[in-house]
């Protein structure tokens, strides 16, 4: 992503289309990843790494991130950079708080979405119609939205029963489903702490016990997005606006309209993310999003501007978030995982001939490994930084594998395309 800025440094990454990786490879990679996690768990005794409780907490934390990331995916694929996701998410949390305590969780979801749409529409008018720089418009929305949300919160929640100046009255949680029978059986296996098998059981129990309908909806939205953007003519046109808007225009695509749709959809997703956050934590609070819009953006970049990738990124970042809340010993084990991942990157970069990068990756990996062995725990204040550090590492060490939309962040004026 050039963000409309300077293109210096970008010439180091020649665009190359890799061969298509079959689903089988992904499956093997996932199992291998789980095996490594399991090994680390057995070695360190941090059983909470793959417990059902952690899985549940990780899913709850991942859902808002995934929604923000989906929002990012929609706009960036249409060539509009949206760092206002954070602000739109804040609007979503307020909308959810306002409707949620009065009419229940599903009204909260709808209102959160609608307020997100308002934020998205603002960004669309500024960037598409008026050609304002995307970053600037995003920053302005991030300044405006928290102020607006807090203003409205003081207006509407201060006098409501159970509410306050900076928080809404409680919102009822959405329905949860449990697959009967399966949960107990998996729990027994999980309790044995066997290698790999218990981990798998823990993960499965996490996703089959007390699963929120909001999570199910989020998964459906990710799959739906993947289908719409990559399997439908509409999606092809939308993505063409992010790759070559002038060419798209010449083929009769109304670029402005597609950009509008994409940016408004992005606001809707960010608002949904905010709503999910407010509903799952039981109320709206000022400052509740805490940078989750930015983590969503990070998850999208980590996921290489693709739905499956961003889901992985959101799960990973949600996982670290959950770990930070639950147990510091298991967080400590994450250091070792990070070190192993970096060493894998080092080997891969070495094999593709990037010796310097490989060296840097190996050095950072060794550093994390040393941190793991030299300490007993990670300071809890630092765990929250993990998603950002990981994203910077991915960008710095593996960016030649990333493939952002070509014209992302470039203002587009009809008839002036290159």
């Amino acid at each position: 992503m050039t963000g409309g800025g300077l293109s210096v440094g970008l010439e180091t990454a020649p665009p190359k289309r890799g061969r298509r990786v079959s689903p089988m490879v992904y499956l093997i990679a996932a199992v291998a990843g789980l095996a490594v996690v399991s090994l680390v768990r057995v070695l360190t005794g941090a059983n909470d790494l793959t417990s059902a409780g952690t899985t549940q907490a990780a899913l709850t934390a991942a859902v808002p991130l995934a929604m923000a990331a989906l929002g990012g995916l929609w706009t960036e694929r249409a060539g509009v950079v949206n760092i206002g996701l954070e602000g739109m998410m804040v609007l979503g949390t307020f909308g959810a708080g306002y409707a949620g305590y009065q009419w229940g969780p599903w009204a909260a979801v709808v209102f959160g979405l609608l307020l997100g749409v308002v934020g998205g529409a603002l960004h669309a008018v500024a960037t598409v119609t008026f050609g304002v720089d995307h970053i600037i418009s995003g920053v302005a929305i991030n300044l405006l939205a928290p102020g607006a949300a807090l203003f409205l919160s003081k207006e509407y929640f201060a006098k409501a029963p159970g509410g306050g100046q900076k928080q809404s009255p409680p919102i009822e949680d959405a329905q949860k489903i449990t697959i009967p029978g399966l949960s107990d059986w998996l729990g027994t296996i999980e309790g044995k702490h066997w290698f790999l098998l218990s981990d798998l059981a823990g993960l499965l129990r996490g996703v089959t016990t007390q699963l929120s309908l909001l999570t199910v909806l989020a998964v459906l939205l990710i799959i739906g997005t993947a289908w719409v953007l990559w399997r439908s003519p509409f999606g092809l046109r939308l993505r063409s606006c992010g790759e070559a808007p002038a060419a798209a225009e010449s083929l009769g695509v109304n670029v402005y309209r597609y950009k509008y749709i994409a940016v408004i959809a992005s606001g809707a997703f960010a608002g949904l993310g905010g709503a999910f956050l407010a509903v799952s934590s039981g109320q709206y609070r000022d400052g509740q999003t805490g940078g989750r819009g930015f983590i969503g953006l990070a998850a999208m970049i980590f996921g290489n501007w693709r739905p499956g990738g961003l889901a992985t990124g959101a799960t990973l970042f949600g996982y670290t978030d959950a770990m930070a809340l639950r147990n510091s010993a298991a967080v400590h084990a994450l250091l070792l995982l990070l070190a192993i991942a970096l060493l894998v990157v080092a080997v891969m970069q070495y094999r593709s001939g990037h010796n310097v990068l490989s060296g840097v990756a190996a050095a950072i990996g060794v550093l994390f490994g040393w941190w793991f062995f030299a300490s007993d725990q990670v300071p809890p204040e630092l765990v929250g930084a993990a998603p950002y550090v990981v994203t910077l590492l991915v960008l710095g060490l593996a960016s030649q594998r990333l493939r952002p939309p070509r014209m992302g962040g470039e203002p587009y004026r009809r008839g002036q395309g290159a």
């Binding site: 992503m1 050039t2 963000g3 409309g4 800025g5 300077l6 293109s7 210096v8 440094g9 970008l10 010439e11 180091t12 990454a13 950079v81 760092i83 603002l122 500024a126 008026f130 050609g131 304002v132 720089d133 970053i135 600037i136 418009s137 920053v139 302005a140 929305i141 991030n142 300044l143 405006l144 939205a145 928290p146 102020g147 607006a148 807090l150 203003f151 003081k154 207006e155 940078g291 930015f294 983590i295 953006l297 990070a298 970049i301 300071p379 204040e381 630092l382 929250g384 930084a385 950002y388 550090v389 994203t391 910077l392 960008l395 710095g396 960016s399």
Partner: protein, 372 residues
Amino acid sequence: MRSLTPRSVLLGLIAPVGALVFAAAVSAVILLATGHDPFDTVDAMATAAQRPRTLVNSLNTATSYYLSAVAVAIGFRMKLFNIGVDGQYRFAALLAAGLAGAAFMDSLPSFVRVALTILAAMLVGAAWAGLAALLKVTRGVSEVISTIMLNAIATYLVSYLNSPERLAVSTAGSNNIGTPKITEGGRVPGFEIEGSSSKVFGLVFLAVLVGFLYWFVLSRTRFGFELKATGLSESAAVASGVSVKKMVIVSMLLSGAVAGLVGMPELLGSSYSYSLNFPVGVGFIGIAVALLGRNHPIGMAIAALLWGFLFNTANSLDTAGVPREIVDIMQGVIVLSVVVAYELVRRYRVRAEQRAVGHALGRTKTAEEVTA
């Protein structure tokens, strides 16, 4: 260079003034819709504005805002978005406060202490921004993304370091924690103002100096010329022998160094410690101020004063029963509408120029002109 005709002055002013009027109108509508009287709000702010203390505080707040705006503007002039001023100044202020409050500093002369503190802040700010520059020139990572990430990492680092086991001490009788108070010799004295209980920060002069240097470097040195040239057309700059990579690194380091200064007036002039209630978000305000002031040293000063004034008069609104966030809304609307207005004026100028050229070219010459 455009000449200063009444028409060009009018076109230059119409965007910011129009945005202010529009933002005021939007705020009034919001107030009316939520059952408040806009005139009461204006009245409360005007009453607050008559207190010398409010004006002194506005100037003090504006000092930080101005430094932050300059830090942002250095990047803006070459199309480099330093979104990370926020993280840079907080990290820099914390570490500088830790240094300035350390016991060994007591034995040094006052001037050296202050200079060391400020230098440390500049170095930390520059280093934090330098990470983003390094990622950009070696790996092509967008500075927008990397500085957003670095902001968040700085937040966690600051909360890690600002704890009693590390740089901070807890204050007796409150649950605030912060670095040890800087003792008398390490502070920068302020100026008493008649009728005001707060003093004007001594480091106001630092902001003036930075503003002057910003103007001087940009318009009177080769470096400034190359910086602006890179911002206007990267390919043209490369063709004329500018090393864009070097420019990115140098300007990002400069921007970070100025960002490091943002916390200094507050730290050395009033709080004397980096604690939990140290101002946050000034980096983002700097972006707004730089946009409103169009990266111009004087324009940004006016915008910073306006922003500081709005911030300090907003305190009086809560007592008037209006949530003070109406000011945040107003500021947000100003930023958004001013960038839209600048864009519209730019388009109008281009069209007017094209019309003028077309007019001049399209005129058929008279018989006398042809024979002459």
